[in-house]
Amino acid sequence: MLNASGDFREYHQRILGSEFEEFFQAVGFRLRKAVRVNTLKTRIDFIAGVFRENRVEFGLVPWHSNAFFVSDDVTGLSFEHQLGLFFIQEAGSMIPPVVLDVKPRERVLDLCAAPGAKTTQLASDLENLGVLVANEPNYKRIRALVYNIQRCGVSNCLVTKRDGCTFYNEGVLFDKVLVDAPCSGVGTAGKNRDVLKDWSSERVKRFSGLQKKLVSSAFKSLDSGGELVYSTCTTSLEENEEVIDFLLEEFEGAEVVKVKVPGVIARKGLSPGTRKCLRIYPHLNPTGLYFIAKIRKNE
């Protein structure tokens, strides 16, 4: 039985209305397992063949052309996984890089990169060309990031150890930036039962302050005409809409871009400035919980 604080219930009943109970049931479930085929090393038909041979049940992820939902018997201990032929990654976590839509030869920054699922996805999209800067301020988490970069055969990546909030001081500009921000993590309730119990508006506000600094730093690191994707795996307005509204107020050239993801049922952002952003809920999709915003930097 999922246990949530009174604050959590009250707050979420307010933003979800009649959908709250359905949402609350879904958010505590363990997420369906998925893998992303690492196209830097292999092809989707090869991995499909391996799964067939091993009688693994699998089906396509609608929003990623090289990903499968799989049965639970696929583990990180398998031969093909250790060779870096695929990455075990929650299907919803593939959406932010899909929305960022990087092209080979672009200059890309992943501001909060560890442990590297989205970083290695971006590297596949870049086809190991251009440059991918993967930033992570925590040394222990850098080790996990480097392990995944190496395992996936990523050769165009530079790993940096900076505070993401001040990364713009490096004075380097990018075509695309991903900010998958640290957050209160309501979407992780399926594996961390305490998240909802410990939820409080104070905690949410602390994250919101950090997220505003991160998104500002990311925006300042964008070249003119560049785009950034801001994502979290949580629900609060303070960590999502308020962060984007803050960015729009602070920077004249910031514009929210409309996004649509195939196969995803999404709700709109909850403030007038964020109607083009996506709220992806687990009771409407076979995924976790995500907020996704795409921002363009105009001249």
Binding site: K41, L77, F79, Q82, L83, G84, R107, N128, L129, G130, V131, L132, V133, I142, V146, Y147, I149, Q150, R151, G153, V154, S155, N156, C157, L158, V159, T160, K161, E170, G171, V172
Partner: protein, 136 residues
């Protein structure tokens, strides 16, 4: 031709993959990295590119990724094994082989390169870091 290119050509008859090759001296030998990205715009870096192998005592020991990149162009010192043998090697175990000269060999199973190892007196043991060992 760089030292790495010479060794790779002579020992495996293979081509070093295209891109910038960076060498870093460590206590374990000289580590080689492949970098295919744009010029570093001046960032202070913790890690660059892909570790493709290490020269220890004049002998090049490819990593799993190094073997995957060199393998398709290699003309010699490639050993093909069964799936069962490949899993044993990836688990850190030795296997017996009949037809391999002593020295470093690239390892291949059903067209898939999965690393390199040392062949000696009819046995092969894979070079594999702890984090990549296949646990049963």
């Amino acid at each position: 031709m760089s030292e790495l290119e010479k060794i790779v050509k002579k020992h495996f008859e293979a081509e070093v993959p295209k891109g910038k090759i960076l060498a870093r001296k460590t206590k374990d030998g000289v580590k080689y990295f492949l970098y295919t990205g744009c010029e570093n715009p001046g960032l202070d870096i913790e890690w660059t590119g892909l570790h493709i192998g290490t020269i220890i005592g004049g002998v090049f020991q490819p990593t799993i990724e190094g073997a995957q990149l060199l393998g398709p162009s290699a003309g010699k010192n490639v050993v093909s094994v069964s799936r069962e043998e490949a899993e044993k090697l990836m688990s850190g175990e030795e296997i017996d082989v009949e037809t391999s000269d002593d020295g470093v060999v690239l390892l291949e199973v059903e067209g898939l390169f999965f690393g390199a190892g040392k062949s000696e007196k009819g046995k092969i043991k894979q070079f594999i870091t702890k984090s990549r060992i296949l646990k049963k």
